[in-house]
């Protein structure tokens, strides 16, 4: 008998702080269980550059620039189940606080008018992704199947959520793991 096939999971951090990814690593001894059940596709944890066909895609962070959109669309295209992980993916989080200002004002403030600025000028390097007018939660850009709240969600919450998904249950956080902060 061959070993049971592992579930392919991809992860990405868009406009986030990697906190959610750190939390994923924070599931301690469950990590061993996890790697027995899953195989990571594109992820900061692997070196794979483009997302292949996956069961599950985990997205941390909101959408603030063109690059984020490319990644998010790639994930949506290749992942059967797409999950928004953490406050920023769900509501834009801290990066979305810039939505109260016009992008124009933001950029000029940071790159042109800031006190002590030497070499003022808005960077125009084509390597840098362009910023969107506003930061968006990912469900405003693509269809999202599940949301795992928390800033970040605790390791325990992530584990509970993933075990549900892997076992084929609709994920449902117990009250103690439901947190927006």
């Amino acid at each position: 008998m061959s070993a049971p096939e592992k579930t392919r999971v991809a992860t990405a951090s868009l406009a986030g702080c990697f906190g959610c990814h750190m939390s994923l690593l924070d599931i301690d001894e469950h990590l061993f269980e996890l790697v027995e059940k899953v195989e990571f596709d594109r992820s900061p944890l692997t070196d794979i550059k483009h997302c292949g066909a996956c069961e599950i895609g985990l997205i941390e962070g909101g959408v603030c620039n063109a690059e984020n959109i490319h990644v998010l669309r790639e994930f949506r295209q290749h992942c059967k189940i797409l999950v928004a992980v953490g406050a920023c993916a769900i509501n834009g989080g801290l990066p979305a606080q810039r939505n109260y200002f016009k992008l124009d004002d933001c950029l000029r403030q940071v790159y042109q008018y800031r006190i002590g600025m030497t070499d003022a000028g808005i960077p125009d390097d084509p390597e840098l992704p362009l910023l969107l007018e506003r930061v968006h939660p990912i469900h405003e850009i693509v269809r999202v199947d599940y949301f795992l709240p928390g800033c970040p969600p605790s390791g325990e919450a992530i584990w509970s959520f993933l075990s549900d998904l892997l076992a084929g249950r609709t994920p449902r956080l117990p009250y103690s793991l439901m947190h927006f902060d």
């Binding site: 295209q77 016009k102 950029l107 000029r108 992704p129 362009l130 910023l131 968006h136 405003e140 850009i141």
Partner: protein, 599 residues
């Protein structure tokens, strides 16, 4: 600015420093000062000895009250679907161009501002606009040219050509109410001869139901008020007529005001009320002087005032209140709040107005047409009245017919008339749909034209908007959704957010970003609106969308961009600012056109 003090004192004095007259005082002050500046609001609060926060709260509620500077000419184009069909949007753009300004913005010299307003009740002679509160009908390119000229030359609105302000009744079909000669006082004499109780009995026999939309039995309301504990009962005539496409009350007040006032007096005879209040929508302010004359004449004839027709103890008089642009104030409890000088927020019911209404007193709120009809009952008797119309909906109904037909105007029919018959009479052809009952009513498709106008079949407060096959049902529904967003009072969560979200989906579909999943979201929002809203505005707001989705679904489907999911905005356009600031034009600076698979 001593001017403010003087104006505020004069206005407050005119209303005896009565804080329940706050709305009237705000209107009077604005009439003089142009807009309600922060110091003006403070002065009003001080003069009336009420908190400033309350004054600001009320001033901000009504769309005809301005707390920011406005032009000396404030031009508001009626934005009902019937006005749009008659070309209002193009005319608005044209006037903006001619006067060098942007819609919704004050011109730099502070001279003029141009924007839209909800239906003004002139759908039969649109497109209509309001200039400083006065109605201009039948706006066309020639009138736009002349208006631009008059504004540029700064001719006072009082001196504009009288024909601009001419308003026709357009009565196209007369029946019991519009077709029978009426001698003021005759109905009152008949009812007084019966005595108060027997008069109420006649009302019961007539089975008259309210013409304002809900179709509640009038005699039950009157009895409730009569039997409610408490003195100083009140009769309120609901002359708000804010439902888009409805203009029959306008005609009644213009040419049948004696019926209306006599109906209020008949209600007072039945209930013992001594105070009558008419709540007139701001758009109908032009009717005010003529209505005052009628009141004066009736007072002089002993039909109003103390000891009416010489009967000791039968005292009743009528006062006027002006609205200031808020459809929800047609809802009876919001209307009462507004009459008390507050924000027009619907109350919790129960208690109902017949028990606790205006200033906590037992109050009857009736529609203009309902009240006018009671004169017929007094003259013919309840049974004769009940013999017309249908068993459940007795008497006649005034329909306000507008849209794609040869003869828009007022049609009076006995209840039970079929939609097809009305269409035939008004000269409609190639009709695709009829919106019965206004934005909150029902959209009827051809296969339903055999159905009849009656409370038990297709109820209607009076609107009957006809759409031929050249019209797009999606655009009609979209227009009505815009209306509800503008008019939601914002009190309750489901309506404040539900109407806004619904507009978001409709805008998205209109822009070409619609996806099938949006239809599911729309259904969901509609359900919340219908189930959870606090008042009838919210519960009926989804109707146009629900009806068009059921009956004209392809109008939505053909606008869909995708079967799955689409963002509500142009993602690439959101990169525009950054592109401009960085001066970049390389391929990575664009999102579209790079052969990227969409999800």
């Amino acid at each position: 600015m001593p001017d403010i003090e003087r104006v505020v004192h004069a206005a407050a004095a005119r209303y005896e420093h009565d804080a329940t007259q706050l709305l009237q005082i705000l209107i009077a002050v604005q009439d003089e000062l142009g807009y309600l500046s922060p110091p003006a609001l403070t002065a009003i609060a001080t003069t009336l000895n009420i908190p400033r926060s309350r004054v600001q709260g009320v001033a901000g509620f009504y769309s005809f009250l301005y707390t920011e500077p406005v032009g000396r000419y404030r031009i508001l184009f009626a934005d009902n679907i019937t006005d749009r069909m008659l070309g209002a949007p193009l005319l608005l753009d044209e006037l903006c161009r001619k006067l060098w300004l942007e819609r919704g913005k004050l011109s730099e010299d502070g001279l003029v501002s141009i924007d839209t307003t909800s239906c003004t009740g002139l759908c039969d002679q649109g497109p209509a606009l309001l200039v400083n509160g006065r109605v201009v009908t039948r706006v066309d390119h020639r009138r736009i040219n002349r208006i631009a000229e008059l504004v540029r030359r700064q001719v006072p609105v009082e001196d504009w050509p009288a024909e601009f302000f001419h308003i026709d009744d357009n009565i196209c079909r007369r029946d019991a109410l519009l077709g029978t000669p009426f001698k003021p006082g005759s109905a009152l004499i008949a009812a007084m001869r019966l005595g108060r109780n027997d008069w109420l009995q006649e009302m019961h026999k007539s089975k008259l139901r309210g013409r304002g939309g809900a179709g509640f039995t009038t005699a039950v309301k009157w009895t409730g008020c009569r039997d409610a504990p408490g003195q100083q009962k009140v009769i309120v005539c609901n002359a708000y007529e804010g439902e888009p496409g409805t203009f029959k009350d306008r005609v009644l007040l213009n040419s049948f005001a004696d019926h209306v006032f006599e109906g209020m007096t008949l209600a007072s005879w039945a209930t013992g009320a001594q105070l009558g209040l008419v709540y007139l929508r701001g758009e109908y302010r032009y009717l005010w002087p003529a209505l005052h004359e009628v009141l004066e004449r009736r007072r002089a004839a002993g039909l109003l005032g103390k000891a009416i027709l010489g009967t000791p103890g039968f005292d009743f008089d009528i006062q006027f209140h002006l609205g200031a642009g808020s459809y929800v104030c047609g809802e009876e409890t919001a209307l009462l709040e507004s009459l008390e000088g507050k924000r027009g927020t619907p109350r919790i019911r129960p208690p109902f107005p017949v028990v606790r209404g205006y200033l906590g007193r037992p109050t009857v709120v009736n529609n203009v047409e309902t009240l006018a009809k009671t004169c017929l009952i007094a003259l013919q008797g309840g049974s004769a009245f009940a013999a017309t119309g249908t068993r459940q909906s007795t008497g006649t109904k005034l329909l306000s017919v507008s849209g794609d037909c040869a003869a828009p105007g007022i049609y009076e029919y006995p209840f039970g008339v079929s939609i097809a018959k009305v269409l035939d009479d008004c000269g409609a052809s190639d009709t695709q749909a009829v919106q019965v009952g206004g934005a909150s009513g029902m959209m009827m498709a051809t296969y339903e034209f055999h159905r009849s106008i009656a409370c038990e079949d297709v109820p209607s407060a009076g609107a009957f908007m006809v759409f031929d096959s050249s019209r797009d049902p999606f655009e009609i529904a979209h227009n009505f959704v815009d209306f509800f967003v503008h008019e939601s009072c914002g009190f309750c969560t489901p309506c404040r957010l539900g109407t806004t979200l619904l507009k978001g989906y409709m805008d998205k579909i209109a822009r070409g970003y619609g996806a099938k999943v949006d239809l599911a979201d729309i259904d969901w929002v509609n359900r919340l609106l219908k189930n959870a809203s606090h008042c009838g505005l919210g519960t009926t707001a989804p109707n146009p969308v629900v009806d068009t989705l059921v009956k004209f679904r392809p109008a939505y489907e053909r606008r869909m961009q995708s079967l799955d999911f689409e963002p509500a905005f142009d993602l690439d356009a959101e990169l525009e600012t950054a592109r401009r600031l960085t001066g970049r034009a390389d391929p990575a600076a664009y999102l579209n056109g790079n052969n990227e698979a969409r999800p």
